[in-house]
């Protein structure tokens, strides 16, 4: 039911820093992908958050989510723009749902594919609601279907990748011990 939260404090901190760096790396890649609106990201930088779901206890996990958001703001220079609150809200909505569902349902009932899809949809839905309030108004409903469809596709792809990674990764197995 509950996941093992391995790790001594030093190792845990190191895992957060290392996965945070991967978030930054993937954010940089995502930054280079053209998109119709600056806050509408595909969400590939969520991958380390998915990998960390069984590795970290709640405080460290949400610290990683914070590092991802602030780091993205620093790397892309968007800390003062609308992009930052969009990213913050999207990341924390998806982190909360992914982490909560995995802890409540357990790995037997919800795999990484389910986690990935739910996380992506939570993030995109939150961002659409913010876009409706601050940028598009009623027109947000026209943006929502393709944006949610893209989230569904990337969530699925990330979930499959994550499933494959955690089953094969020696680093992950060592960190889980």
């Amino acid at each position: 039911m509950t996941m093992p939260s391995m790790q001594q404090p030093g190792k845990e901190r190191d895992t957060v820093a290392l996965l945070g760096a991967f978030c930054l790396f993937l954010s940089t890649i995502e930054y280079m992908i053209p998109k119709p609106l600056p806050f509408m990201r595909l969400g590939i930088a969520n991958l380390p958050l998915m990998i960390a779901i069984d590795l970290l206890p709640a405080p460290a996990y949400f610290l990683l989510a914070a590092i991802k958001t602030v780091g993205q703001g620093l790397v892309s220079g968007s800390l003062f723009s609308y992009v930052f609150p969009f990213s913050l809200a999207g990341t924390f909505a998806s982190a909360l749902l992914m982490f909560g569902l995995r802890r409540i349902l357990g790995s037997a009932r919800i795999g990484f594919v389910g986690i990935g899809v739910i996380g992506a949809l939570a993030s995109n839905l939150t961002q659409i609601l913010l876009a409706r309030a601050f940028v598009f108004g009623e027109s947000a409903k026209y943006v929502a279907p393709p944006f949610l469809a893209a989230g569904l596709a990337t969530g699925l792809a990330l979930g499959l990748f994550c499933e494959s990674f955690v089953s094969r990764s020696e680093w992950y197995a060592r960190r889980l011990r």
Binding site: L37, F80, V135, R174
Partner: protein
């Protein structure tokens, strides 16, 4: 004086400290957000855009225009106000057009301000800042080794990279513990070493990052933004 992007970036790094840029951005932001006039807000946008250019940050005019056009286009879908013209059933209304332009200028202006004043060598205070610093150090290492990520074996190559970085970290921690034991208290960690347009370089490649001229320029830019704000209110 050279004006290519690399020279401007180097000049920006030597003139401005990351923290001072951040404070300047914070001070300028309210003058932009609360500017009641679209033409003056647009003037502030161009001020920020110029600053982005001046510090050598990468900035695509096409991307800026296409994002702005997207925001305006989506605003036009819901018509309100006087009809300016119509294409068949599609009506372009004054209210939705002006509203769209205002939103586009605001979104893009904040992005410009952010690009100009948020630099990745900005040090955040406290233990969270230290943790982000550690992440940036790892990020530097990942960028150094990103060539090792093999497209044919992404999972395996990422795993090897994580193992390598963890091993390096363990070795560095052991060395740091040894050095701290022999040097006594006060030993510090490596600084965050990043700069450029999503590009990163060793600390030695950076300039001192603060100067009187730099502070004067930042103060002048902030004053210019507030002057436009005041002009919009009192015109």
């Amino acid at each position: 004086m050279r004006f290519d992007a690399a020279s401007r970036r180097e000049r920006g790094l030597s003139l401005f400290a990351g923290g001072e840029l951040f404070v300047a951005g914070l001070l300028a932001m309210p003058s932009f957000l609360f500017d009641p006039s679209l033409p003056f807000r647009a003037a502030q946008f161009f001020l920020f855009w110029f600053f982005v250019w001046a510090v050598g940050r990468k900035n695509s005019a096409i991307a800026t225009l296409s994002v702005a056009a997207g925001i305006v286009a989506f605003n036009l879908i819901v018509p309100y106000g006087r009809v300016l013209f119509a294409w068949g059933a599609f009506r372009v209304t004054e209210g939705s057009l002006l509203g769209g332009i205002e939103k586009a200028v605001t979104v893009e202006g904040l992005i410009m301000l952010s690009k100009a004043t948020i630099r990745s060598d900005l040090r955040l205070p406290g233990s969270f800042g230290a943790l982000i610093g550690d992440s940036f150090r790892y990020f530097d290492r990942i960028l150094e080794k990103k060539g090792n990520i093999d497209r044919k074996d992404i999972t395996g190559s990422i795993d090897r990279l994580l193992l390598e970085l963890s091993a390096d970290q363990e070795a560095a921690a052991l060395m740091a513990a040894d050095a701290a034991a022999s040097a006594g208290p006060g030993a510090d960690a490596t600084p965050i070493t990043a700069h450029g347009e999503n590009g990163w370089a060793p600390a030695s490649a950076r300039g001192p990052g603060r100067s009187r001229v730099g502070r004067f320029v930042l103060a002048a830019a902030v004053c210019a933004s507030w002057a436009l704000f005041a002009a919009a209110w009192f015109r």
